[in-house]
Assembly symmetry: C2
Homo-oligomer: 478 residues x 2
């Protein structure tokens, strides 16, 4: 496609949220005529934020996408680095589990500010325009025709060469694809809901260490807290709906927090806790998979519209941003040819989106339960040890997902392989330790050990001594 | 609920297909005011059948539902009994696999005639009415309000106490439930499509044995044929879409049939085959699961609207009819109280619908591939033998699903248990046979067998002789 062809091509992006706005930047950079239709009003003009949102954690994949459009530094400067998980035990004791090496961290980001910055970035391109308050009411994805309705209630028809659905988990574009034959789709609500609470600043400063993701893991439920730029923390309580329903009065809530999150009560404030808990009911969490992501060479889904995931790996926004980056890379590869790009995007991206969806569900169990177990700590220590030894061969799952662009589905395959290696290694190690124990015991009881053992008195001792030392080091290494 | 309360209650059934019409009969019998809204015109007046449909196989569950409204004998008299599968091998050799005992059979039924009879049955109730050509355009399931539009294009609002969505796999009622929070849903298209062909009567008679379900199993694809009352057969070819796409001309089709279904060519007719194959493209097959089936005490889904399944167990209609029967049984149990019936219907019926959905997918593999293997024939023989021995303890899967009302999910559990028992039994049996073989060999080679074997010369021979006889009988018993 030569440059004049590209300038004549019109791309419509449905949704001016994070993924929609970022995508508009990518496409505007390629000189397409880009129109973004957003149902809500311009959030830069809105006085109050509508609805709530789980805090965002920006990591490598999202940063790489922002870097590609030259926004990484600006966005990162407004984030708060989180270097690990800070586990709050029932007793109030806190312990740190680093996310990676000393130089690796994720960033706590304000969704609203990020969205504002991205919208402003779109508007720097003369060939891109964001139309606010314009709701999609009809969509003919096969022919590239849409109808939007604004505040004047008069439907407006728009034709274009490509429709990109970035309109979130409850995507209107996707509902039109669903009617087409052979479109696979699943939506699943997990039995747990979430509720947001706030830890206000204390004397103008953070009330807890800001550079960690705070977790109160309680096996069947958990609370987390992420720092905001204005020195407060946003806490999110994840819990089965039936447990939420048991808490009917302020005193129920207070008793529940006294039992499970006692150290958080002075931080949130007793009165605020009793009131804020009943401001909004617990919100549901949905997991959406679909296939394929495109229809012919006219329509494609990205972000939550293609793969809404639960928030427990902090990858929702990052996966959506990586969608835009992957699509941009394919546009390079296929010289802006939609008829080649779109099928390849589906083929390439669907296994990855399914993988991060499953990993996100898995990570809820890890966060709320495993982080408290010695097996998990042992496993983590061994992984960190092996990663230090063989940095490119052996990479902990969290590192692959959060600090690399290894394809999500490959990360899952490597993770399974690594677990197998560790488990086999532990078996061998355990057997050797047991044999060593027996040898030492026999040596201790009898001054003259059995004949065949006598042949390796010194080397044997030395070997088992070293094995023990290595294993202790491994345990201590985190 | 006393009888005058019931007579004041209004139930709206969306869809006048098989399940909708049957359901209307059940509800009219309970004296509710029943209105059925069907988007199409009255099929009893239509001159041509629109669309195609896979043949129906009526079995026990469906018959029990028809029996409850007094229609069983009438419907059964219009069906053609099928006593087993008739397998067509590549060489043209045919073999029979009975479905159950001599008295057990399923019935090949015309969808159109059954639907006509059911609609006529609805109209025998003075308190029930079917409104044809009335399409659902709006639905407020929480408040029991719907809007339908007829040929005059004027929307009509209807309020009622209960909305029952029996509007098939692409249910409009379900799309309204999907918008409600915590409604789980999945739709999956299998990679295979289907195409219908016809074997016309030969000299006014059936061209093949009518009392069997004919199968041409070819591992990755298959063709089946069911007899019609007018002496023809409807063949259905199930095959991956990519294989369908390879057949572009009449001669491609003919060559394909010569290679895989040679004995069917003279039956279908060479010319008809080449033409009919291109009348319609291969049709997709969808599998739909959702949860829950109801919303509050106002709306409930039944039949394909709740659980569209692939047709390979012949249970689509039977499961839908059993929905109506189960609901009717719950209405008895809870004295027509919707607020108790609806949640219980979801709780009770969802595991069963998920089970028959999975079984139907499994049975495709059994039909197109397993039926040709000696392991399957051995397994089937053992199952039949054990069933004859212990009729209530050991029941083959097909019998549980097709000839009983054992709950589908219980049938799956029992099937897994039975398979485990058979496999363990085969291990023991195999070991005994091997030991017997060794014993006989040793006896044959040496006139004086080893000392410890000499102790059981006669009983040993006798035992292994009997084991062999029993196993041969088992193999021959079907």
């Amino acid at each position: 496609m030569d440059s004049s062809d590209i300038e004549r091509k019109r791309v419509v992006v449905i949704g001016g949220g994070l993924v929609g706005a970022l995508n508009a930047c990518f496409l505007a950079r390629r000189n397409f005529q880009v129109d973004v239709y957003e149902a809500r009003e311009d959030i830069r003009l809105a006085t109050s934020a509508r609805g709530r949102s789980i805090n965002l954690a920006l990591s490598y994949r999202g940063r790489q996408a922002l870097k590609a459009i030259g926004l990484e530094d600006q966005i990162v400067s407004q984030g708060i680095p989180m270097r690990g998980r800070m586990i709050h035990n029932l007793s109030g004791k806190k312990s740190v589990l680093p996310y990676g090496t000393n130089s690796q961290y994720i960033l706590s980001i304000s969704r609203k500010n990020l969205n504002k910055d991205l919208l402003t970035a779109v508007e720097t391109y003369p060939n891109a325009k964001v139309h606010f308050g314009q709701r999609l009411v009809k969509c003919n994805p096969e022919e590239g025709r849409i109808t939007v309705v604004g505040s004047n209630k008069i439907p407006k028809d728009v034709t274009c060469d490509l429709i990109i659905g970035c309109d979130g988990a409850h995507s209107a574009v996707r509902t039109h694809l669903m009617k087409k034959p052979r479109f696979d789709y699943s939506q699943r609500y997990i039995p747990h809901g979430y509720m947001e609470l706030t830890i206000p600043p204390r004397n103008g400063a953070y009330a807890m260490e800001p550079n960690y993701l705070h977790i109160w893991p309680r096996h069947t439920f958990m609370m987390i807290a992420l720092a905001n730029m204005e020195k407060s923390f946003t806490c999110t309580l994840f819990m089965p709906f039936e447990e939420f329903e048991k808490l009917r009065t302020s005193s129920d809530v207070l008793n529940f927090f006294k039992e499970y999150f006692p150290d958080s009560i002075p931080l949130i404030g007793e009165q605020a806790l009793g009131e804020d808990f009943f401001l909004l009911p617990a919100q549901p969490l949905i997991s959406i998979k679909c296939s394929s992501f495109h229809l012919k060479s006219r329509c494609v889904l990205m972000g939550d519209a293609a793969h809404a995931i639960v928030p427990f790996f902090g990858q929702g926004m990052n996966a959506g941003f990586e969608d835009c980056l992957v699509f941009d890379e394919l546009m390079d590869k296929f010289n802006n040819d939609f008829s080649l790009c779109l099928p390849e995007f589906s083929r390439f991206r669907i296994p990855d989106s399914h993988a991060i969806s499953d990993l996100s569900l898995y990570n809820y169990i890890e966060m709320r339960s495993h982080v408290n177990s010695w097996q998990f700590l042992l496993q983590t220590s061994i992984e960190r040890f092996l990663h230090a030894l063989m940095p490119s061969t052996f990479i902990p799952l969290y590192t692959m997902v959060t600090f690399s662009r290894i394809r999500y589905h490959e990360a899952v395959l490597r993770w399974h392989w690594q677990n197998k290696v560790i488990n086999r290694g532990l078996c061998v190690f355990g057997s050797l330790m047991a044999m060593g124990g027996v040898y030492l015991l026999v040596s201790y009881i009898s001054p003259r050990p059995l004949g065949y053992l006598r042949r390796l008195p010194w080397t044997g001792n030395r070997f088992f001594w070293n094995m023990g030392r290595i294993s202790l080091q491994t345990l201590r290494s985190h």
